[in-house]
């Protein structure tokens, strides 16, 4: 087990995983608090009409919902293919020892 822990492969796996997870968390925080910032300080901007009587705030709010969902999709796609493949490789190596 010690060998696995210190192997470069496992180290890369961990750092990749943490990078992706923290980067996506950061993007999510940015989207949400960016939206709160607009609500609090840029109300005029949200009142700009997109078409007819629909102000920008409405499509923007809906986009926050859709974008958050897409981020979970990006992560799932990455983790269930790239990450899990690496995990399987390392597990096979453990089995050999």
């Amino acid at each position: 087990m010690k060998e696995v822990l210190s192997s470069p492969k496992f180290q890369t796996l961990m750092s990749q995983k943490n990078k992706v997870a923290f980067a996506l968390t950061f993007i999510q925080l940015l989207i949400y608090y960016g939206f709160i910032y607009l609500l609090a300080f840029k109300k005029d901007f949200l009142a700009i009409k997109v078409t007819g009587s629909i102000p920008l705030g409405i499509p923007l709010g809906i986009s926050v919902i859709i974008f958050s969902w897409l981020l979970t999709g990006v992560y799932t796609l990455w983790a269930n293919s790239v990450y899990d493949r690496l995990v399987e490789e390392i597990k096979r190596e453990i089995g050999k020892h």
Binding site: L5, Y33, I36, S68, T72, T76
Partner: protein
């Protein structure tokens, strides 16, 4: 044009739908009971749920009557502010996905305390974590039971106490006999009914406006003024808005009944899929409630909505009656009832997990209880909590419980979430650190909520609040993290730090998971 409503009068269709739902779910409970023999089957459905099924069940756990009737009502009466609220409830899900879900699945068995206690001292951690869990679950449960009593009264004309006893009894049957298997299937059925019902309601609404959003929104701005389509009072104080945002976002990642669901899937892959599906379903549902809320303001009108219930909770059922007649009203009322039942079932099971798995099995029995004994105690805990829920529901009749959900989220964000996150990612976390963090989070949340406008002014009728914001999370969550980190640094635990390396193999590879 003022419409009339039959809401609150016994409706044959709603009673029929209600019996159909109850009979189906009780039959499922009967089947589930035969498959529920071990602790893993009772708490975690034998880890047999797929990612898609768990996604629906998670959505079912999260889409409470408050988020269906409450948010639709908020949109109907306040317009855009309702959308801000629902966005806050959604954005926690990606955080659950990126930081918590699969780690939880890989490290734990039945409760989130399994993860926190993984390399720390069992006894103090289990006691502190179950304190955080039970506080969250009970507050949430009281709010749901009181809501249930009033809603069923409004929807079916049943007396409040009878409604609470009815909801409590059916829920106890599900959880007591069918454990997590029955609870999961009740959630799945409820989620499908709710998503289906809301979809039909939104479509019937849009038909009236020729499927043109522009027409719906111009109608709203002509009738109520353009302000309805813009952010209003909810973000009057930006710090308050940020604090609420923190509670909603990180509270989702600390709700015991949500976290428990990740143990029902076989592995990390399915855990990820389940968050993806859940976020999609919940997001879609919030978009529908937005349409439904505005539809109710346009078609039913705010005067009628307010005259039935001043908080706006009856906006969606009234709209259902206006666009689909009494039959559709009956269907939506039955769906709302199913929603309440399913959510209280999930909460009770999570509370029972804290009582029996964390406190009984791991503290009193020091981890040495037989399977049979574990299931027996879990069922006893379910029964106790269920009866307690009924009593609390009746005791809090007519009380203002609106602050309780906010407080539950604040505690989840500032006690459960910090302890979970630090124990997963930080090598130097110590037993004393976790305990200090949890106690700080719970105490600050409770004290600050009492001093806030929601309790100090609205309930105690004082002229001005001592703490200015409605939600304390912006103070209590960082304070909990700081306390946990400081105390951990002062009380280093060599054994826990050494175990961190071994834990990594399990966290990242899922080696040795149950």
């Amino acid at each position: 044009m003022e419409m009339q409503t039959t809401l609150g009068q016994p409706n044959v269709v709603s009673i029929l739908f209600f019996f159909l739902f109850t009979l189906t779910t009780l039959y499922i409970t009967y089947l589930a009971a035969k498959r529920t023999k071990t602790a893993s089957e009772y708490y975690a459905a034998g880890r047999s749920i797929t990612g898609f099924q768990n996604g629906l069940a998670l959505a079912g756990d999260f889409m409470s009557a408050a988020s269906f009737l409450g948010i639709a009502g908020l949109v109907a009466l306040k317009g855009y502010d309702g959308l801000i609220y629902s966005i806050g409830f959604l954005v926690g899900w990606p955080i659950v996905m990126f930081l918590i879900a699969e780690q939880l699945r890989n490290l734990g068995k039945y409760t989130f305390a399994d993860v926190v206690a993984y390399r720390l001292k069992q006894k103090p951690i289990r006691i502190a974590s179950s304190f955080g869990s039970l506080a969250t679950v009970l507050l949430y449960l009281i709010a749901q039971m009181v809501g249930a009593g009033s809603l069923v009264k409004l929807l079916f004309g049943l007396p409040y106490e009878l409604a609470v006893v009815l909801v409590g009894t059916i829920m106890i049957i599900y959880v007591l006999f069918g454990g997590m298997i029955a609870t999961t299937w009740v959630q799945i059925i409820k989620a499908c009914l709710l998503l289906g019902g809301a979809t039909v309601l939104a479509i019937l609404t849009l038909v009236k406006f020729g499927f043109s959003f522009n027409e719906l929104f111009s109608f709203i701005s002509e009738k109520y003024g353009e302000k309805r389509l813009l952010p209003g009072g909810l973000v009057a104080n930006p710090w308050d808005a940020i604090s609420l945002g923190i509670a909603l976002m990180f509270g989702t990642a600390g709700l015991p009944h949500i976290l428990m669901r990740f143990y029902t899937v076989p592995d990390a892959k399915e855990a990820r899929k389940s968050v993806f599906y859940a976020t999609g379903f919940i997001g879609y549902f919030y978009i529908l409630t937005f349409i439904i809320g505005f539809g109710a303001a346009a078609i039913v009108g705010e005067n009628l909505i307010k005259s039935i219930e001043k908080g706006g909770n009856m906006a969606a059922p009234l709209l259902a009656e206006a666009v689909g007649g009494t039959i559709f009203l009956g269907f939506i009322a039955a769906v709302a009832f199913a929603t309440i039942l399913a959510v209280v079932a999930g909460l009770t099971l999570a509370g029972a997990g804290a009582l029996s798995h964390d406190l009984y099995t791991n503290v009193i029995k020091k981890g040495k209880a037989t399977e049979e004994e574990q299931v027996k105690v879990a069922r006893l805990a379910t029964l106790i909590l269920g009866i307690l829920a009924i009593f609390l529901g009746i005791a809090f009749k007519g009380q203002n419980v609106a602050f309780m959900v906010g407080l539950a989220f604040a505690i989840a964000a500032s006690a459960n979430f910090p302890s979970l996150l630090l124990s997963i990612f930080w090598k130097k976390i110590s037993t004393a650190g976790v305990v200090a963090g949890i106690l700080t989070g719970v105490t600050l949340s409770v004290v600050l909520i009492i001093l806030s406008p929601t309790v100090w002014v609205d309930i105690f009728k004082n002229p001005a609040p001592i703490f200015p914001w409605k939600n304390p999370a912006l103070i209590s969550m960082p304070a909990s993290f700081i306390m946990a980190i400081l105390v951990s640094l002062l009380t280093p635990e060599k054994e826990a730090q050494e175990k961190f390396e071994e834990e990594k193999v399990r966290t990242y590879l899922g080696v040795g998971i149950e």
